[in-house]
């Protein structure tokens, strides 16, 4: 029976588990927001709450206890400095978990765990302000620069691809006369790739063509 056996094993022995959660809780307080599996995130909540409780106590012994868990001194000292400001009004439950779906590869359910009172520099406030302002003004204006930015990149890629293929074409021809039928197809491919790129910006289309001709 697992009566009164709290916690999860996660397929690790206790030292492995402890080392992992020390790493994770260090990362959580360092970056305020980390991405991990559901099970680890849920277990990490307790570790984070324990550290915050120590930080709010704030005395030397608490600081040493926190230093014995968190692996980076700077993280502990910053947390202890900010603890009352960030977590003074909250009693427990200092983290938030949001599910993100399944990880490609092993289909493990992933989630994002973050400190409820995030860092001042990375709070949701700026993103909220942006989302509030975004729908009106930037919807029209940035679209053109972004398209302009995207087009040269795409054209560069196509140029590189074209250069690579043009260099590749002479090889088969020199090697086998029978593969001449394949060579025209390869030379035709760059033209097909160039065509989609200039469509967003018709003005730059001649430039890309001249570049390919130069090379």
């Amino acid at each position: 029976m697992r009566h009164r056996k709290a916690g999860v094993k996660l397929g690790r022995n206790s030292s492995h588990r402890k080392a992992m959660f020390r790493n994770m809780v260090t990362s959580l307080f360092k970056y305020n927001r980390i991405r991990t599996t559901d099970a680890k995130a849920k277990e990490l909540r307790g570790w984070a709450d324990r550290i915050v409780t120590l930080a709010k106590r704030g005395d030397l012994h608490a600081r040493r206890q926190a230093l014995s868990i968190i692996r980076e001194q700077a993280v502990v000292h910053r947390l202890f400095d900010e603890a009352t400001d960030r977590f003074g009004g909250i009693e427990g439950g200092y983290t938030r978990i949001v599910k993100l779906g399944r990880r490609p590869g092993d289909a493990a359910p992933m989630s994002m765990i973050e400190l409820v009172a995030g860092d001042k520099t990375r709070t949701p406030k700026p993103s909220k302000a942006k989302t509030a302002e975004a729908p009106k003004a930037p919807a029209v204006t940035p679209a053109a620069p972004e398209a302009a930015d995207a087009a040269p990149e795409a054209s560069d890629d196509s140029v590189d691809a074209a250069a690579a293929e043009t260099t590749a074409v002479p090889g088969p021809e020199a090697a086998d006369d029978t593969t001449k039928s394949a060579a025209p197809e390869a030379s035709a491919a760059p033209e097909a790739e160039e065509a989609p790129a200039p469509e967003p910006t018709g003005e730059e289309a001649p430039e890309t063509e001249t570049k390919t001709e130069e090379k």
Binding site: V98, K99, L100, G101, E114, P124, K128, T131, A134
Partner: protein
């Protein structure tokens, strides 16, 4: 020992399997961007969950 008297016919086998089917994931519409998303999950399209941008997604 109990042994089948007849080979199971294709028809009988296939009829048995009519209940062996899987259903797709339950999806809901993201209130922020309208994209389909898993319930109780962040929207992977816009990063929104309950009005907060939980992924460090670009704002668009």
């Amino acid at each position: 020992m109990a042994v089948p008297k007849r080979k199971t016919s294709k028809s009988k086998r296939d009829k048995r399997r009519t209940h062996d089917k899987i259903s797709g994931p339950e999806l809901v519409e993201c209130p922020e961007c309208g994209e389909a998303k898993l319930p109780h999950h962040a929207c992977l399209e816009c990063g929104d969950y309950k009005g907060q941008n939980v992924l460090d997604k670009e704002e668009d």
